[in-house]
């Protein structure tokens, strides 16, 4: 039981509890906060894997930026308390159960194959030990080897941004 194991169980436990809390809290604000806790714990798991950059980006983008917008929307729409019973009715319930079963099968499959294959466990721990990806390597990958996909992604994001502004502006003009 090394320190890494202890931290793994702390972060893993917190992210599990957080994820369960997201769907079990009645009030959306509490759910959003639980989601932030989950993201944060996952960033901790990334750090344990040696992926410091991914951890920092996880916190900056998900915990820091996207969840603030979530909170804003929840506050401005003033969503009241919701219960699972009321929200899930009829067909939706069937879909939810189906997706839940699929997810459970997926999880069990991954767990079984990983546990049965002794190589995976060793390999993954070796990967974690060896490739403590430094930020320089990520930079080189992004700006040299994968420059074109990187630029295309940023262009797509820019297009989405401009699209939103155009749509909002048009909506305003029609109102006037």
């Amino acid at each position: 039981m090394t320190a890494e194991h202890i931290f793994f169980f702390i972060f893993g436990g917190v992210s599990l509890i957080g994820a369960i809390s997201v769907i079990s809290f009645r009030h959306p604000i509490y759910s959003a906060l639980a989601l932030i806790v989950t993201f944060f714990a996952q960033a901790g798991l990334f750090v344990l894997l040696g992926a410091h950059f991914v951890a920092a980006v996880q916190v900056i983008v998900y915990a820091g930026a996207i969840m603030v917008l979530f909170l804003f929307v929840i506050m401005l729409l003033n969503l009241g308390t919701l219960s699972l019973k009321g929200a899930l009715s009829g067909k939706l319930k069937g879909v939810a159960i189906l997706l839940g079963i699929l997810l459970a099968i997926e999880g069990i499959y991954i767990a079984v194959t990983t546990l049965n294959n002794p190589n995976t466990a060793v390999a993954s721990s070796e990967v974690a030990a060896d490739t403590s990806y430094s930020i320089e390597e990520i930079g080189e990958l992004l700006f040299k080897d994968y420059l074109l996909p990187f630029e295309v992604t940023s262009l797509i994001l820019l297009a989405a941004l401009i699209g939103v502004i155009v749509l909002v502006k048009r909506g305003n003009q029609q109102e006037n």
């Binding site: 906060l33 930026a65 603030v68 909170l71």
Partner: protein
């Protein structure tokens, strides 16, 4: 021996720095009031202890022994949690700030920094982006119109200025070729301080940092005339004190980060290399301390020099002036790094000229845009459904 290096030394460092931060807050509160008094030609608190130095302790005791009041209409768990959500990010940011070079003690080299991680700058950006939750949650949980308005203002402001904060240091990162704060400080010690190379980015960063810490002239979140006290209207006793402490801690950490990124860290023209292996470390620490203190003095100075922005001015300033300046600094630094073959002089001059041109263009567009509007439409209907529900 391993135990000493791995566990005892980090714990001692954490304890020293955490206590320095808390004592720093107390000293800041005292000096804020005394310097404010000096600027306004009055005395300020001078009765408790010599020169009023014990005033923060008296204040602290008062806060601790006050009744811990929780209003009936608040959302209790989040109301209690919010001050901690603001205070904790403010405290843990300090973990990656290098306070000095290194000292030799017991035959070991101890670096004056809690954790030298290779994503230091990203860590700071990540943790400061979490500070906004304390404000938003505190405002929402208070269940009060003024609080919610203050919280929304503050979070919109923090999100807007965070962009400038992040983009303005990219030029620095390019020249230092590292994200580690220690490496950035060392690079400046060997060459020129970053504030001379990236002057516009330095000014943009400093301004954005004032906005991030909710200090005047950006303290719209707690504009007394309009919002009583903003997001902490409903807070009293120690919970209010925690909001207060978080603000001052943010100032101290922000100043320390600025000193590291732009003002040469613990370097001062070779003074840090004087003395032996122990003394040079302590001198470097003293240099860092003095630089941070000067920067903190500027915080108070600015508070009594500049009036508060209006909300639209704040947004215009952030998005139309600071952000273009930060973006220009990236482009110019990158381009001149290649064209001028890494000549720092040319990068410094180019940055200033480019920022000047960009600001002139933006200001020109702004003026043309303003002169077109013959009638200013002031009747913008603001509807916040969240506010109706509170009533």
């Amino acid at each position: 021996m391993n135990l000493l290096i791995d566990i005892v030394i980090p714990i001692v460092k954490i304890l020293i720095i955490a206590h320095m931060l808390i004592i720093g807050v107390m000293v800041m509160i005292w000096s804020e009031r005394r310097v404010s008094g000096w600027i306004q030609d009055r005395l300020g608190p001078n009765r408790v202890g010599p020169q009023g130095l014990l005033q923060p302790i008296a204040d602290g005791i008062k806060f601790l022994f006050k009744e811990d009041l929780i209003p009936n209409h608040v959302d209790k768990p989040l109301y209690v949690l919010a001050p901690a959500m603001l205070l904790v990010p403010a405290m843990i940011t300090v973990a990656v700030v290098p306070f000095g070079s290194s000292i030799q003690l017991f035959g070991e080299t101890i670096i004056l920094q809690i954790a030298d991680i290779n994503i230091g700058v990203l860590y700071i950006l990540a943790i400061t982006s979490l500070g906004v939750y304390g404000v938003v949650i505190g405002a929402w949980a208070s269940n009060n119109k003024y609080s919610l308005l203050g919280g929304l203002r503050s979070s919109a402001q923090m999100i807007s200025y965070e962009l400038t904060l992040g983009l303005s240091i990219i030029g620095v990162l390019m020249l230092s070729e590292s994200l580690s704060l220690r490496q950035i400080a060392i690079t400046q010690g060997e060459g020129v301080w970053n504030c001379f190379i990236h002057l516009p980015a330095f000014l943009a960063f400093t301004t954005a940092m004032y906005a991030e810490t909710n200090r005047l002239p950006f303290d719209l979140a707690e504009a007394e005339q309009e919002l009583v006290a903003g997001y902490h209207t409903e807070y009293s006793s120690m919970k209010f004190a925690m909001f207060f402490m978080a603000e001052y801690m943010n100032m101290i950490v922000g100043s320390a980060v600025t000193v590291t990124l732009f003002l040469g860290g613990w370097h001062f023209f070779g003074l840090e290399n004087m003395g032996g292996p122990l003394w040079s470390g302590l001198i470097s620490f003293a240099i860092f301390f003095v630089k941070t203190a000067i920067f903190l003095f500027v915080f108070i100075w600015v508070r009594w020099t500049l009036p508060r922005f209006r909300y639209d001015q704040l947004m215009n300033f952030g998005w139309k002036f600071l952000l273009p300046v930060a973006l220009t600094s990236i482009v110019v630094t990158g381009t001149l790094w290649i064209i001028a073959d890494g000549s720092l002089l040319w990068i410094g001059i180019g940055n200033v000229i480019a920022a000047f041109i960009v600001i002139s263009i933006v200001a020109g567009i702004f003026m043309v845009d303003n002169s077109k509007k013959t009638t200013v439409d002031n009747t913008v209907e603001v509807s916040l459904p969240g506010l109706d529900a509170i009533e």
